[in-house]
Amino acid sequence: MAGAHVRIDNRLIHGQVTVAWTRRLGVRRLVVCNDEVAADELQVMLLPQAARGLPTDVFSVDATLAAEAGDGVMIIVKHPEDAFRLVEGGLRPEVVNVGNVAPRPGDIATMVTRSVAVTADEADAYRKLAAAGVPLVTQLMPQDKPTEFVPLLDRKGL
């Protein structure tokens, strides 16, 4: 699924996504991509209902990579690792947007923006992503300015 907008967002499909992002990007199809979520019957049933009428698939990372390409796809991944694995698997997104990443219990994370926490391991992986030529930004809402993500990591010494 080349050319897709990939958003990293722990809360997956929620108000920011349904009200603002899908309209702004002209999204025609949503793919929620995370192995655990795809294995959870409850979330597989609920997420498409939250998408306000947009066709929505809930896939594991492998299934996302195997899915056929299409125009106007927005891929929402739960954790940064999902995005890393997608790119490792050969996906070339138009942009990876780091939206909401809350710190996970037990992790030592630094808040890079108000809504994005990054651990040391993740910082390396983000850098690899950017080095591979994938545009990497953080932009919470469409009306916010997209900010290059790697310089933010530099500033926090990660």
Binding site: T18, L42, Q49, G53
Partner: protein, 539 residues
Amino acid sequence: MLVALALTLWAIYCTYDGLGPFLIYAQRPLIAGSVAGLIIGHPLLGLLIGATLELAALGVYTYGGATIPDYQTGAIVGTALAAGAAGAPAAQAAIGIGVGLPAAILLSALDPVGKMVTTALVHRADGYAADGNARGMAMIHWVSLVPWVAVRAVPTFLAALAASGGLVKDITASIPAGFVQGMTLAGSLLPAVGFALLLGMMELSRYWYLLLIGFVGFAYLHLPVLGIALIGVAVAMLFVTLKRDEPVLAVPEAPPAEPTVDPRLTKQDLRRVFRRYFWSSQISWNYERMQALGFAYSMEPVLRRLYPEKADYVAGLQRHLQFFNTSVLVGGPLILGSSVALEEAGTPKSAASTKVALMGPMAGIGDTVVFALYNSIVFTMGASWALQGNWLGPAFAAVMVLVPYALVRRWQFGFAYREGKRLAGHLAAGTLARVAQGATVLGFVVLGGFIPSIVKVVTTLTYRQTTTVQGQPVTQSVAIQNQLDELLPFLLPVLVTAGVYLLTVKARLRPVWVIGIVVVAGVVLGWLGWFAPSAPAKS
């Protein structure tokens, strides 16, 4: 001074209301401004200013903690300053709107400051939770309200103090009448911004034709808005019931009988959990965990009852201190009820995972139904009455949020607790999607009537037409508005709203810029005397 203090107290209540109980949605400008007008002793000013700001801010709510203009403070401060201004009430209201709007936009810069302070506080709460110190955790939860309140109450107090001096009168006395006339026109155009923002959130390409129902109802049949809303309910019911024939997700078979849970929680415990959530769900909202502390604080009585061992109790507190955010009116109480049920059933793991599974989808559906649809309809109706100086406007809006939201929250909590593990099956049966669709349909029908009835603009331009009557050339002045009315009633309001919609959605201008453009255009065109909110009385 007394008035300034009273306004500050009101600002404190408004902020709290929008973080915890949502009794009357007091942070909305319609309510905040109307009561501020009462406090000052100029109720009409509060109604006019609050209603105008309300209509400019329809559908503008906090989604997932994004910062929005501080319309609450704008309405209170605008009303306070307007009361001190020189001139007739209409001129004062125009000045109040002129002050309130930029104030709301500028003060939004303070919102993140408050939220950052609460982010630091939540780490203290982690420490207390690790010690099993519920009292300390509760203290942090309630103290977090202070930074939220401070960034709104302090500017309100300062502006109210300034308003009580004679300075405002001196400054405003020199404002030219043309500007006031222009500002009045700008005020009557501003609702177009709110409607355009709302349309931008709804599926216009799919349902645009529903706007026609409301438009015809108002423009040709002269139905009052309540009548249009009733038609909207009927159309929404049609959509939802006819849709049932489509293959929706199959209702899952009743799950195999579960081992009955022996009820260890008392009625008292449940009441306490619900009460805590009702009164304080997001007073400690912060960037890092969002509503987590509020959720943990609400769950605490249940955890204390279920886990006599301190280690288990601490683990429970920590489990519910994890990141959480959802829609607190539709969704939150449901998740709370299911968490209580699953903890009681001795399955804390699934309590945590169900919570995570539900919070995103419920926020998507809840925010849409509450903000973009139900509230927008109720507050537009309230504001349209308030603009006519009718006190029923804000009162209607307040009652329409107080009663239904209290009942809906209570019901969700009880339902989710009783259903426990079966809850997921109910939700999966497509109920949520149907509710959202019905509300969308109603929204479109009503909006079709709101646009012509609330965006008020006519042209006062005329042109001279020379005709020959019985061989004599006669020159008449013809009002362009009359000709427009023959073409299509309310053509100008429709064009203005469409123009603003294109600016926000197609040209992707930020709402703040769009508001600026509308205000400047209104002031200029009104000052020149080319356009006015309503046709001038025939002289």
